[in-house]
Symmetry: C2
């Protein structure tokens, strides 16, 4: 296993640079990190000797001999990625270049508590390790996302509204019973943002990723890095008010965007439309299935159901109200909407955009792009792997 | 005049470091900038040769001979600082250590247009230069704050709601008729934040400065630097909605915090209280003076006037609603409230705090400090000077 602690500062900088820009020549690398040729060569040589990077196939020539390019070595080890949502669990093993070696997804109920969930995670990790014919000692680091506020420095959950019973729990301690590798825990939306940043949007400096599922959260990218705020709770936007006369939220306040526009609100609005006689389709499904979920609204909308369209427009408008405040404050160049609810249909994005444009100032919106997240289901997994890699380089592992 | 363009990268880094931490020894400086001893000495020597820094009085000894300390030289030149508010104009000349050499403040109405205001600024600068017995060529750089959104890269105002007629105007061009020095224009609240950061809170990484005057704006400090967003409009929080059924704002939306809680709203509420028979004191003053301003509310409150207290509580509560959204999103460690309205009395801060605590999540508020800004009236001036110094080092001057 890689001994991250023994890496010299220059070696960390070079390894991080190759992580973000594999395929650089030594010359390009030196320019990028701002080191002299000799300092770059010393760090590169040390990393090659340690087996952490390798020189491979020729890159683009600018005249003379085509230079060798640098990339990460598989000898770095394997990264375990865990993406725990309120109702889903994804576990995966990744190579250092974040390609997926094995991946398992299943429904989960985070309210069943840490005992059940953490046991299941440990079992799934063992299965995937076996499937890949590797060894627990090959795990270089573990990254994990959870659907609640995390004190990122110590990896503990703090008053997580969707996760009663997880408060102050150290998930890392449980995982350390199986693995010596460092464990990094973050909010699931930060990992989604990290995934989008690392895989798709490396050149964008300031953007937001909004995840709409059982809850609503926001990942903040500031100057090309995840911004977590003073206590690690930045982006906790679910309880921003979008209607001061709105319904009571579980947090005790009225009109929180999460209470009015996340998945449970969509289900509630669908049931109301069915019972209120505003949608024959939704009424039929409610009759048959006993319950309605956001996907039903999506399907009804695609069949041209007027009430379903109205629900999508309303929740898009409400999310847009919250987003307008963020756009006025933060002036991002891009906003990416992800999470299960975002897949409800194109009308959703149109409603969000309309709401943001109406309530934001010209200077904040003249260049803004509001789009669906690119990775979506895999975003959390790739983000968890990328976070684990980067944090190993940044700090002494826990 | 200092030729900023000719400074080598290492010299810029060292000069910037001394600007933020005057009185360092060479050894402390090397540690701080992360340079080797020889690289630090080379850059320091070059800056001393150019007359930009000087070695002065001995610092603290750690054993042997007490080391010389480094500080900025007056030969760098003089920094002109201009802080234009919606109803006030401050012009000052500052030494490189941001001590004030001359300062003039007067009321101004930004709506009288760029012709009148810019002429007045030029006249005041000439007067101050004469008063200090210096020369226009001694001006090293000019920093200026304006009460509207600025595209910071080119210094142009973009659709400024309080400044009709200033749209797309290059103030720098006018100032360049008198001075060859580079000119940097920023939003007035960013300068207030810069002033607080540079003079008072160098050790705080992530904080917000809210300015409540004719308008409401927010300066954002992120990882120890001003954050301006993708288009330079970050912090434009005046049109965040705090009451979706609230009164129409000049921006076209309903219930903007600026329409409900800035100075004009306070005056309107005071007149309503006077006319509605809810305050004998305010009614008397309205009778005598024909109008009421926020200071009247302040004075009435200090005399125990119940209606005045209710106005302060209401506007504090509304500002706190907006701030709660920012705190949930940004998780700052500190929020500083400045601007003319903030001086309305201690009840104001109490109401803001109460509102924020009620509407923000535990993790965001467990360590938060919400306080009055420390510099207030001088904050913009010091911020303008500090901005000008720093930007000279960062970019090729315009």
């Amino acid at each position: 296993m890689t001994d991250w602690r023994s890496l010299a500062p220059a070696e960390r900088i070079v390894l991080d640079c190759i992580f973000w820009s594999a395929g650089l020549s030594r010359h390009e690398l030196a320019t990028k990190v701002g080191f002299s040729k000799s300092r770059t060569n010393a760090a590169t040589g040390a990393l090659i000797d340690r087996g952490l990077i390798e020189e491979a196939g020729p890159g683009c020539s600018t005249g003379g001999r085509r230079p060798e390019t640098l990339s990460l070595s598989r000898q770095i080890g394997i990264f375990a990625a865990i993406d725990l949502g309120a109702t889903s669990l994804d576990v995966a093993l990744l190579a250092p270049d974040m390609s997926i070696l094995a991946h398992h997804a299943e429904p989960a109920d985070v309210r069943s508590g840490p005992g059940v969930i953490v046991s299941r995670i440990r079992a799934l990790l063992r299965e995937l390790i076996k499937k890949c014919r590797v060894n627990g000692r090959d795990i270089a680091a573990i990254g994990m996302g959870v659907p609640g506020p995390v004190d990122f420095a110590d990896g503990l959950l703090v008053a997580p509204p969707l996760m009663p019973g997880w408060e102050g729990l150290s998930i890392a301690e449980y995982l350390h019973e199986d693995y010596a590798a460092p464990v990094f825990i973050d909010n699931d939306v930060n990992l989604l943002a990290m995934g989008e940043l690392w895989r798709v949007h490396r050149q964008i400096r300031d953007f937001l990723v909004i995840k709409v599922g059982t809850g609503i959260g926001c990942g903040i990218v500031c100057r090309g890095e995840i911004y977590r705020g003073a206590d690690g709770s930045a982006g906790d936007v679910g309880h921003i008010c979008v209607d001061y006369n709105g319904p009571r939220c579980h947090c005790g306040n009225d009109g929180c965007v999460e209470a009015m526009a996340a998945a449970p609100a969509l289900s509630r609005l669908a049931v109301e439309a069915a019972r209120g006689g505003r949608s024959i389709l939704l009424a039929e499904w409610l009759e048959t299935r006993g319950t309605l979920v956001p996907e039903d609204v999506s399907q009804a909308s695609r069949s041209g159901d007027v009430a379903a369209n109205a629900i999508i427009q309303l929740t898009g408008e409400l999310l847009g109200r919250m987003l307008a405040s963020l756009v006025n404050f933060y002036n991002p160049s891009h906003v990416f909407i992800g999470g299960g609810v975002s897949q409800i249909g194109p009308l959703y994005l149109a409603s969000i955009r309309q709401s943001v444009y109406r309530r934001s100032l010209p200077l904040s919106t003249r260049h803004i792009h509001i789009e669906f997240a690119k990775l979506n289901e895999l975003g959390g997994i790739i983000g968890a792997g990328a976070l684990a890699f980067q944090e190993c380089l940044k700090r002494a592992p826990a």
